[in-house]
Amino acid sequence: MEFFDFYRKDRWPHQFCPGCGLGTIMNCLYKAFNDLNIDIDKTVFVSGIGCTGRVPGYINADSLHTTHGRAIAFATGIKLSRPDLNVIVISGDGDLFAIGGNHIIHAARRNIDLKVIAVNNANYGLTGGQMAPTTPYNMITTTTPYGQREYPFALAELIAAAGANYVARWTTAHPNQLVKSIKEAMQTKGFSFIEVISQCPVNFGRRNKMGDPVFHLRWIKDHSVPISKMTFDINSPYDIVDLNTKGIYIIGDLVKRNRSPYGEIEKEIEVKGPQE
């Protein structure tokens, strides 16, 4: 697939800020599509509102740019009516986890066959850099002028707990791994979710001494911890919630399950419970 088979040439140039991570993410999508030879005419890209929400509009496929927070619910309607289509949701952390938080946990619970890319840039980029439910502790945004004083969500862990079949977290500093992860998601049936930590030098970086995109990207890389180094032991000094609060991101595949996707759960599910 040529570059402009994947992108809508007549929508070029794009509107993203210089140094934005979305370009990397889009190119990773292109690479994954190219490697797997996915039929772009059998693919629908769905998004909510935000900078990330503008991504589908630049891709040369069917696109549905919906209302703020509701992308997952629109995508649910598409997938259930046309199960033969690849339905990919790409949207922002605010869109998917603040205003749209209810829809994403329920879609994961249903294990509906959607591929979701959540771009975590730690803020509301489009509206000028307000706090998001992902903003790490102490970080400055336009609505946390004294520093963030809330605990952020661990997006990937939240979706893993909600029941998705595939969950991973990567960053724009790990493009090769991200491509691999997108391919894994595309080949997994059921709800597949990738959180991508991304730089937003203009609206988030600048207020946190990371206005230089390269610096911002390096910060992300330095704050990434491979999941293999984590011990999920009750006495471990690493607690997901605390790491996340500090802006330290566990990267890698968090979950690979093989639960029947929505619509195929015909048999009684065997539940392994505590011994009676």
Binding site: A73, T76, N102
Partner: protein, 357 residues
């Protein structure tokens, strides 16, 4: 599917069966009194008709899912009541902006807020038309019997297909739960997408066929590409969206008129209007103007009869359709306007009208 013949059905069930006859094959909803039986019936019936039924996590997602389904070329609907209808408003505007054919049955109950969950009202008449932000139009139908609820639900799908617009059926707690005899006809005219060409309505190209469709709620050009700071693009788009409904009002609007020569005309719709029949039956001096299509306002029909008339508006809210009836009525020479507003759950009786006559 219901075969032709006579049935004895509650309104909620009749509406669901009518939707299936109209070709509806996607239902997403969230339970709410007094609409829940419609949803429950769909849960049972959709799989039998190879359609999709899903109970969503709220009304925001219910309307989102049906819009998504509609964009794959499916006829899709949801049903709700006041609180849920309020939650749907943003995406009703989205459906209007993106010209998505969907049907919403709003089973009205007493509001505002949680209000009177099990009790009839007509408080959503203005919301059904003005509830979302910005300039847009909806088509709103108001049946006054189970038979009409059945027939108008079929028509709602046809209108949605023809005009690529959200269509709202205003049912209410009374119609939804009362059981009446209905006649299912031998044959219904069912309109498919792109079957009828209407001025100002572009053809509908669904997702999933390789047409690289771009859909957005942002102001957009004919390709669906966002163009948000061009005066002309916005004006042309929004004016066309409004005009495609308003200019076609004469063909959309449907009214029942009895005793048009009478000096006094009762204007009423939905369940309220049933109070008028005993009065006009043996009194040729009183007439009835009953819109089955509330919006667009049936101006072309009202102007024919309103000149020099005394108009009595009867409805179950404190401030509703009367505002528009009086505005349009005065424009065309209506003389006196009186209103009977009954709220609380009491269904209007002929005596309410007699008091004013």
């Amino acid at each position: 599917m219901l075969t032709p013949g006579r049935y004895f059905l509650a309104g909620n069930i009749a509406a669901a069966e009518a939707a299936l006859i109209a070709g509806c094959r996607f239902y997403a909803g969230y339970p709410i009194t007094p609409s829940s039986e419609l949803m429950e019936h769909m849960a049972k019936r959709m799989p039998e008709e190879n359609g999709v039924f899903i109970q969503m996590e709220d009304e925001l997602s219910a309307i989102s899912a049906i819009i998504g389904a509609a964009w794959t070329g499916k006829k899709a609907m949801t049903a709700t009541s006041g609180p849920g209808f309020s939650l749907m408003q943003e995406n009703i505007g989205y459906a209007a902006m993106t010209e998505t054919p969907i049907v919403i049955v709003d089973v009205m109950r007493g509001g505002p807020s949680t209000g009177q969950p099990t009790i009839v009202a007509q408080g959503d008449v203005l919301q059904s038309r003005f509830g979302s932000h910005g300039d847009y139009e909806t088509i709103v139908l108001a049946p006054n019997s189970v038979q009409e609820l059945f027939d108008l639900t079929i028509r709602a799908f046809n209108l949605a297909s023809i005009f690529r617009n959200p269509v709202i059926v205003l049912s209410d707690a009374e119609l939804a739960h009362m059981v009446e005899k209905i006649e299912v006809a031998q044959k219904y005219d069912i309109v498919e997408f792109n079957q009828v060409e209407v001025d100002l309505v572009p053809s509908f190209v669904p997702l999933g066929y390789g047409f690289k469709v771009a859909v957005t709620g942002l102001t957009h050009n004919f390709k669906g590409y966002p163009i948000t700071n061009d005066v002309k693009v916005h004006r042309e788009l929004v004016t066309r969206l409004v005009d495609k409904i308003i200019k076609n009002e004469p063909t959309i609007s449907d009214v029942e008129i009895i005793n048009p020569e009478a000096e006094t005309i009762i204007v009423s719709y939905g369940i309220s209007s049933r109070a008028a029949y005993p009065i006009i039956k043996d009194n040729k001096d009183v007439g009835l103007f009953r819109p089955r299509t509330l919006w667009p306002f049936p101006e072309s029909k009202f102007k024919e009869i309103v000149k020099g008339k005394r108009v009595i508006i009867l409805e179950m809210n404190l401030r509703g359709y009367a505002i528009e009836v009086e505005r349009v009525g005065r424009k065309y020479g209506g003389k006196d306007f009186e209103t009977i507003h009954i709220i609380g759950g009491e269904v209007p009786k002929p005596s309410h009208i007699e008091e004013v006559l």
